[in-house]
């Protein structure tokens, strides 16, 4: 069937079972590390592809204006959260609030063409992120409980 594009991810249930058998604190730490390492790929890609240039900060009358080069590149944030009651976590990756103009780059304006960097990073690296998540989970499980990830 040439029209069919299929992505199959296996091993999720096995990973869940392996984590569920561990003490909750250890399992959460493993999830946190996996999310951080995996989503770090997206952050790296965003840093590489975001449009860079000098940003002029207004400042006060005393300090005057100041310039900062590639502010957005250096302010791509990442926030990992793991839910307390379940083996479930999330990781938000993107420009920090202070770099609010990232939205104009990402989506454009009526007088400015979009220079997207978040959505392309997400789409181009989604497979690498999934692979990194699995790889890190195996490593961490092996570290905590040798031989358990086989």
């Amino acid at each position: 069937m040439p029209n069919l594009v299929e992505v199959k991810i296996t091993g999720g249930r096995e990973l869940f079972e392996a984590l569920e058998a561990r003490p909750s604190r250890v399992a959460k730490n493993i999830i946190r590390k996996c999310l951080k390492k995996a989503a770090g790929i997206w952050r790296g890609e965003m840093r590489q592809t975001v449009a860079q240039g000098p940003h002029v900060w207004k400042g006060s009358a005393k300090t005057g204006r100041s310039r900062e080069f590639a502010f957005l590149r250096d302010h791509i944030g990442m926030k990992v959260s793991v839910r307390g009651d379940e083996l479930e976590g999330s990781c938000a990756v993107g420009p920090v609030k202070k770099g609010f103009w990232a939205q104009f780059l990402e989506f454009g304006r009526s007088d400015q063409a979009a220079q997207p960097f978040i959505r392309p990073a997400f789409e181009s690296k989604v497979r690498d992120v999934l692979a990194k998540f699995v790889e890190t989970a195996k490593e961490e499980l092996d570290k905590e409980f040798p031989g358990s990830s086989r």
Partner: protein, 142 residues
């Protein structure tokens, strides 16, 4: 010919889109109201702007495959929210879910809506209704 030529022809020929945004005969700027990347200065509103966000090709065992995937952002701008919304909805209804051959010959397998958002610009005060679609397609044979 390329994909964007095809979807611009498809959307601009749609009755609902023409009712919302006008056509070259009714618009002062004599365009169909659809522009690539950014709107020209002082153009009539509402207007629809499209831009490619990302894209990829699928390799086969024989090498480069014909199937391609691209993500396109459409943004409808208007002086009022209802105006922008009407143009965006008309474009969405004309294109999302489309499957078949576009007027210029590109074969489209699927068009899926993947993002929908509203925005407002303060200066000049403009409303924006934008949406992203993911398109699976094969270029027209040359």
């Amino acid at each position: 010919m390329s994909l964007h030529v095809g979807f611009v022809q498809l959307i601009s020929a749609d009755d609902a889109f023409q009712a919302a945004a006008g056509d070259p005969n009714t618009r002062i700027d004599k365009t169909n109201g659809i522009f690539p990347a950014t709107m020209p200065q002082n153009c009539d509103l509402p207007a629809l702007v499209y831009a490619r966000v990302s894209g990829r090709e699928f390799d086969t065992l024989d090498g480069r495959g014909e199937l391609k995937q691209t993500r396109v952002q459409f943004s409808a701008f208007g002086e009022h929210h209802a105006e922008a919304e009407a143009a965006a909805v008309a474009a969405k209804n004309a294109f999302v879910g489309f499957s078949g051959t576009l007027p210029e010959g590109t074969e489209v397998d699927s068009v899926i809506l993947v993002l929908d958002r509203d925005n407002c610009e303060q200066v000049p005060r403009l409303y924006e209704v934008s949406f992203d679609v993911e398109i699976l397609y094969r270029n027209a044979a040359v």
